[in-house]
Symmetry: C2
Subunit: 210 residues, 2 copies
């Protein structure tokens, strides 16, 4: 019988896709603990509970594994992002707020996951592939933010406000708050971070966020 695309087999012979995902997950864990420079293929394999050569078997090279890991992170973020857009109330102000809350929520604004993003960002200038993936990722995000900001501006009395400027400021703010989550002691305060965003939203869009 033809095997289905997404099998659920486990054990010695899992489906090709499962193995790849398992290895990507292991890679993420390793990077979050030891950084990109510190993770070896042996680390990844053992984190996945598999043997030495396994990464080369499924990804050909370490370089490729890292590229695919970054792609996965980007794609995973995009899924969450789109889910939030779909599941939040239709008003653009509500959607925007929901996105900000997602960005600073525990699923995303988490030291372990951020460590991995920053590890890749740290090599962006040195590795053109990372640069391309990250640039595409950011563009998609900021286009959507811009769209929402424009809708809010059109709804209210914000004639002299530029959607681009506000969208830039918002996305810069979340990125920067992520950095302080990563760097600050474990004392990082999600509430305080959200306050920073709320305060900005309230002051630029007073009609919408009261």
């Amino acid at each position: 019988m033809m095997p289905v695309a997404t099998t659920t087999k486990t054990g010695r012979t899992a489906s090709r896709e499962m193995r790849r995902q398992q290895l990507i997950d292991a890679t993420i864990k390793c990077i979050s603990r030891k950084g990109i420079g510190g993770t070896t293929l042996a680390d990844v394999a053992s984190m996945a509970g598999l043997s030495q050569g396994i990464v080369n078997l499924h990804f050909t090279s370490k370089e490729n594994l890292l590229n695919e890991t970054l792609r996965y992170l980007s794609q995973e973020y995009r899924s969450r992002f789109e889910a939030v857009l779909e599941n939040s109330p239709p008003a653009p102000a509500e959607k925007l707020l929901a996105l900000m809350e997602m960005d600073l929520g525990p699923a995303i604004c988490d030291r372990k996951k951020l460590a991995v993003w920053f590890a890749f960002w740290g090599e962006v200038k040195a590795v053109p592939t990372y640069q391309k993936i990250c640039a595409a990722h950011d563009r998609a995000y900021s286009v959507k933010l811009h769209e929402l900001c424009q809708q809010i501006i059109d709804e209210g009395n914000y004639a002299d406000l530029s959607a681009t400027t506000v969208a830039d400021a918002l996305s810069a703010m979340t990125d920067g708050l992520w950095l302080s989550c990563l760097i600050g002691a474990r004392s990082f305060d999600r509430e305080a971070a959200l306050d920073a965003v709320y305060s900005y939203l309230r002051s630029v869009f007073p009609e919408h966020y009261e």
Copy 2:
């Protein structure tokens, strides 16, 4: 004769301090091109125009060289920072603006230099020493920002504004704008970045930034 602390000798025998600085400069250049993972001690030595063993001679180990490089970056930033505070008009609103302009000015918001900062941030979670240095650096910065924001709040009618919140938002915004400078194509627009900051300042401190 007793040699003076800061000699200006060059050539085969430069003063100890000069050599160290020369090697730190070379390290910064290498990291900005090839990332931390990609720079070898041989690279650093040859970038400095010196020989193989030179880094170990002056810094004992690669680890130590990297720590000292990060310390230097932090200290260099702090000097600029303090110079700006001294040389700007005394009003806190002016000083705050001058700082933001410094952060987004060409000396600091430059892809090459930012690549190095991000390279270290990318390893913060994996290397405790980087974490300590960065945390101290950030704390110093945000204390000063907080102070300025508090003074502005006290001067104006901003009773219900929290200095902490505004300071957090501002420093997050500059960090985030740095990331987009690093990741975005060469099209990064310093003007647009400053606009994002201005727009925020105008909306939280309308009395001061009109």
